[in-house]
Symmetry: C2
Subunit: 336 residues, 2 copies
């Protein structure tokens, strides 16, 4: 049988495990051009919180009793597509289930000789590419600029800071535990970091750590940390809006200080994006990222929930609350 996680109810505030159901369905059969895959690692990501809201997000939302959306690292167990053989490792958008069929066209193959296959959902997957294109294309980062990253120990933020260091920039990050702060400074090479749960005055903290101001702010979090950035932006500063995780689980929307006048005085730019806009450049970026990984210029950690698909909701909720360092995954099955 194929075990799946479906949406039981739309959460108000943080999702609860009871907002999801574990159900069983037959293992589907691939048609011509399709492959049948078995999930090895399931990816849980912040964007999924938006997909279970009733209000429209940037993609179709999950309906009640539908299988949760998401991508997995999976192994081909039956192929009706000429490019794929049984045993191949792929990144497939089949959602939260143990098996799925998917079109072979456009399916991305994971090369298991470069790095552990789990990285295909992390540093060499969507989060890594999000960091790469957000920082370099939207942020237009230049050598020797200053960068501030919120959510800096997460799957995206941890890569943003490291790419900024590769580009010769000064990088400061914020994260929610002392362990994360230690990780990003002492293991990933950020110039400085702070635990936002232990600091009350973010504005002064940023002034202290980035006394010449911020050229590029890569925002995964939003809220009060982001408020503190605007007065600290440099002329022609760029604010890359990647995520606003502090806002996703609020029971009612938050207000904050108005800041748009800073955009005039700083001649600054704020821009949101989706990594899918750069799909035609993903392969090229992955070559560069893989080389940095091989050279030791990029490091990563993963937080892997081992308990099978029934633990996907708990892993998702834990990630939304900051329980992860690096990419949060759920191990579903062993490779054949």
């Amino acid at each position: 049988m194929n075990r799946q996680i479906t949406l039981a109810s739309r959460p108000a505030g943080y999702p609860k495990e009871s907002d999801f159901n574990l159900v069983e369905a037959p293992i589907p059969k691939p048609e011509d051009g399709q492959v049948l895959v078995k999930t090895i690692y399931l990816s849980v990501d912040p964007y999924m919180r938006g997909r279970i809201n009733a209000s429209k997000s940037y993609a179709a939302n999950v309906e009640i009793d539908e299988v949760m959306v998401g991508s997995v690292i999976a192994q081909v167990i039956e192929s009706k597509h000429p490019n794929f053989e049984v045993g191949d490792i792929v990144n497939a958008n089949i959602g939260w289930q143990e098996y799925g069929v998917t079109a072979g066209d456009g399916l991305r193959t994971i090369d298991p000789t470069i790095a552990p296959i789990s990285t295909g959902a992390g540093i060499l997957g969507m989060p890594g590419l999000t960091a790469y294109f957000g920082l370099l294309k939207i942020g237009q980062l230049q050598t020797r600029e200053t960068v501030f990253v919120s959510g800096a120990a997460g799957a995206v933020g941890s890569v943003v800071g490291q790419i900024a260091k590769i580009k010769g920039c000064r990088v400061v990050g914020s994260a929610g535990t002392d362990e994360k702060v230690d990780y990003i400074v002492n293991e990933l090479g950020f110039d400085a970091a702070f635990n936002y749960k232990e600091i009350s005055d973010y504005h002064t903290e940023l002034q202290t750590l980035l006394p010449d101001g911020i050229d590029v702010y890569f925002d995964n979090v939003g809220g009060e940390i982001t408020d503190a950035v605007f007065p600290n932006l440099r002329i022609k500063g760029r604010v890359v809006i990647c995520g606003q995780i502090s806002q996703y689980n609020l029971e009612k929307p938050e207000s904050g200080p108005r800041f748009l006048w800073h955009m005039i005085t700083k001649r600054a730019r704020i821009e949101g994006f989706l990594v899918s806009e750069y799909a035609d450049q993903h392969a090229e970026a992955l070559v560069e990222m893989s080389e940095w990984l091989r050279q030791g210029k990029l490091k990563y950690r993963e937080t892997i929930e081992e308990g099978g698909i029934e633990n996907a909701p708990a892993a998702f909720i834990s990630m939304l609350k900051g329980g992860n360092i690096g990419k949060q995954l759920v191990k579903i099955a062993e490779l054949d």
Copy 2:
């Protein structure tokens, strides 16, 4: 004698006339490379409110007892620069005074045969250029897009809407009186407009007037009107931050709903700018604007305070409160 307006005190909230002093000084003498000019029209502009704050703006602030900053339309009455003759009309940044000396290099000459010289401070001056570059360069407006302009009857907003119509776009504006709404729709050709003081639900109003959403929002105002734009932005929408006049005279900063998550779902951009960034393209733009004016594709109104330099503070305060339609000027002297 040379009568000048100096800053007497930094206003809290709206400036009062008592925040300014009328003083007298000798008429200065030009040195080599300079010209002495006599002010004909004094320009009062929203940006000047920022210049009299204690906090730093994007340019040096006016100190107490200093002459107020600003540009004037003036006539050369003595020239020690080879490019200027007595009688020439120029746009000079001499501040709020009846006479001033200024370097001839970089001084812009006004051609009185194209349009009344007052337009050199309005539609063929800084406000017109701000509309042009803000809409076309920052807003990257494309044919058949939809545009919303706040402060649409002002010196900048009225030009924004007309350029958008020249470019084949649907244009909606907001303004603060029924007379202004009538002016921008029936005289300037906006597709629709509303009086923001008579409407309480801006979100629904925008949905009604721009049911397919907003491609480019040109913001002169900020505050609640701007809040209502974000849910109505189209995918890849652009928000041009030109001014935030609703925020300049608040005694304490306002809060508003957080909206940055819209930037992700809409893959949208917010950008501030200063017209001076495009200084090397001003001359070329003015050729195009002059031609549109000649063809009747651009129209304008001016609100001229006739009472001499002693009335500049009152005209400035009136403009900040929305008393003007089109460009607010103060007539200082007659042409020789």
